[in-house]
Symmetry: C2
Subunit: 144 residues, 2 copies
């Protein structure tokens, strides 16, 4: 398991961009790898796995702090996974809320676009609804 990958390789294999990898190192999400004589980062298979983990978690919308915790958990396989479970559950709730609010929003936008008679701005449904909150179904409808 020697360090055999350059940062570019790591980027290609993990799908995380080069500057982002360096950024992850800077914020302590990824350990600083050994360097070659010329001062270049050289990654091993473990790093690539870690990067893939991070990328997947980011894709799933987990925040960096949550990922930090998940990574710590992964490093101690004997611990109870209750914490990981809690993080995932928590995130599921967030996602569900976000879906609900976006769905309401979609209705609103669809009504807006549909009602538009494609005439002049003066009689434009889109502008009208935006101007008059009272006209819309989106009262206190949470945040996207």
């Amino acid at each position: 398991m020697k360090g055999i990958y350059t940062i570019g390789d790591a980027a290609r294999q993990s799908g995380v961009k080069v500057p982002t990898i360096r950024y992850y190192e800077e914020i302590g999400l990824l350990p600083a790898p050994p360097r070659t004589e010329g001062g270049r980062r050289s990654y091993g298979a473990t790093d690539l796995r870690r990067l893939a983990f991070i990328r997947h978690a980011r894709e799933l919308g987990f925040e960096i702090d949550a990922i930090r915790t998940l990574l710590q958990l992964q490093d101690e396989p004997d611990q109870s996974c209750a914490a990981a479970d809690a993080i995932a559950r928590d995130h599921l709730v967030t996602v569900e809320r976000r879906i609900a609010s976006l769905t309401a929003l979609r209705e609103e936008l669809a009504r807006m676009v549909e009602g538009c008679s494609h005439g002049h701005v003066a009689s434009c449904r889109v502008i009208e609804i935006l101007a008059d909150h009272g006209e819309c179904a989106h009262h206190e409808g949470a945040r996207a």
Copy 2:
């Protein structure tokens, strides 16, 4: 239509926070209002309407730049509303994409949480799926 509202009044009436109102002024989304002798901003009814418009549009997830365009359109009621329509349609597409990707994500998270046997990290579905992208249905599933 005199300037009769303080920035605090404007904030209360529009639901936009005081520093945010000043920020909108700074970025040119809201015109700089006249000041009182003591140097305080004094807003009129027009400003309040504009603020409400902005707030509503932000609530609906429109970006500041889109709102800038929409406001310009609102100021010229004789123009065709095609542009406003396009912006709204565009945003609708974005929202629909976001919903689709979040829905896929929800499935993924639900499977993760369900599969978790609440034992040790070593056999935790949550960690496992995160570590191994191949195990999950979320291939190239766009961004949340």
